[in-house]
Symmetry: C2
Subunit: 177 residues, 2 copies
DNA sequence: TATAACATGTAACAAGTTACATGATTTC
DNA sequence: GAAATCATGTAACTTGTTACATGTTATA
């Protein structure tokens, strides 16, 4: 039970919702950050239901496809509280896999390596600029979107550091073979 | 075919090895960064073999358990080169899932949130210090370990930025409710 | 009347983990 | 003779993706 459970639990804690609604919300507000696919959300909801973290209530309007409206249960609340404490209380294990390319940098000709790192630098600085252009949610917290600003500010800080490191490293590599 | 394939391909590019040997090498030199389990390595090797990225050669010493020695094939070399260019040439998609806790920060009492973030700060700065204590491989590049220093320096930079951001954020949160 | 939006799902596949199983050899 | 090391694997499970299938209702 991982990130997706955490996310859905958090959204359902705000208010009961059906699957499509959750997917739409994520799509509209969080798709820049969250990569969960719609089919995944449905199956994660099934599993959460099986584990008693949420409860299901079928509703139908006219002849439309029925909706399954999910409510967080006390067990779900408890689990969410646990996940929240864990998530806030310590940093994530850092992702080294993204650095495999660096680990194998010596397997490629130095000039080509430099070129690639410069490509990376361009993309990274574009991404960084794009992040900074995201408007703040700040005021309207109806859906609990306030925290997104925090996450964006952290990501921005990390990207800037990455860019600075990369720029410095490229210079170093240019200096000595 | 993802990170583990990339890693094993890179190690096999250096020299042919059997599964146990690869696992030992990762355990001794890369376990701080790489989390792949031994059973995973074996099954990834099987898949790589099936895809023709590596070739297998059985050897046996006395009555010992037989070894399967793997060699990278031309197809494997090509695939490795591709992965390397992709990995170096652009930044990884950033990991927002680690920020889910922040996104839901408003779901917890402010004082408790602050306490948790301070715990996180402690762990993070300890991790950061630990990273800096890792000795450089620098000289002996027999196994292609040179790049590890690069990866460590990047991780250090990122962690420091994370710590700085966290420290700043805690201050901000303390100031205004 | 076409198509976008609504609403849910299944089947097949891919990747990884955990726990267990096997048996030889070296070292204490 | 016990324990560590050598060397490989399997079975069951978890999580997630892709591609496909189904049918309704509002809108242009």
């Amino acid at each position: 039970m991982g990130d997706n459970t955490f996310l859905l639990l958090g959204l359902l804690k705000g208010q009961k919702q059906h699957g499509y609604q959750l997917n739409e919300f994520i799509d509209r507000n969080l798709s820049r950050f969250i990569t969960m696919k719609k089919a995944t959300a449905y199956s994660v909801l099934d599993r959460m239901l099986a584990k008693g973290l949420i409860a299901e209530e079928q509703t139908q309007v006219g002849n439309r496809p029925p909706r399954k409206v999910y409510t967080i249960t006390p067990a779900g609340e408890a689990h969410f509280a646990l996940l929240l404490r864990e998530s806030l209380g310590r940093p994530r294990e850092s992702e080294f896999y993204g650095d495999l390319g660096l680990i194998f940098l010596n397997q490629i000709a130095p000039e080509q390596a430099l070129e690639l790192l410069q490509d990376r630098q361009k993309v990274l600085s574009a991404n960084c600029a794009a992040l900074k252009r995201i408007p703040l949610h700040d005021g309207h917290l109806g859906q609990g979107l306030f925290g997104v600003d925090l996450a964006v500010s952290r990501q921005t800080a990390l990207m800037e550091a990455d860019l600075a490191w990369l720029t410095h490293t490229i210079e170093e590599l240019r200096r000595k073979p």
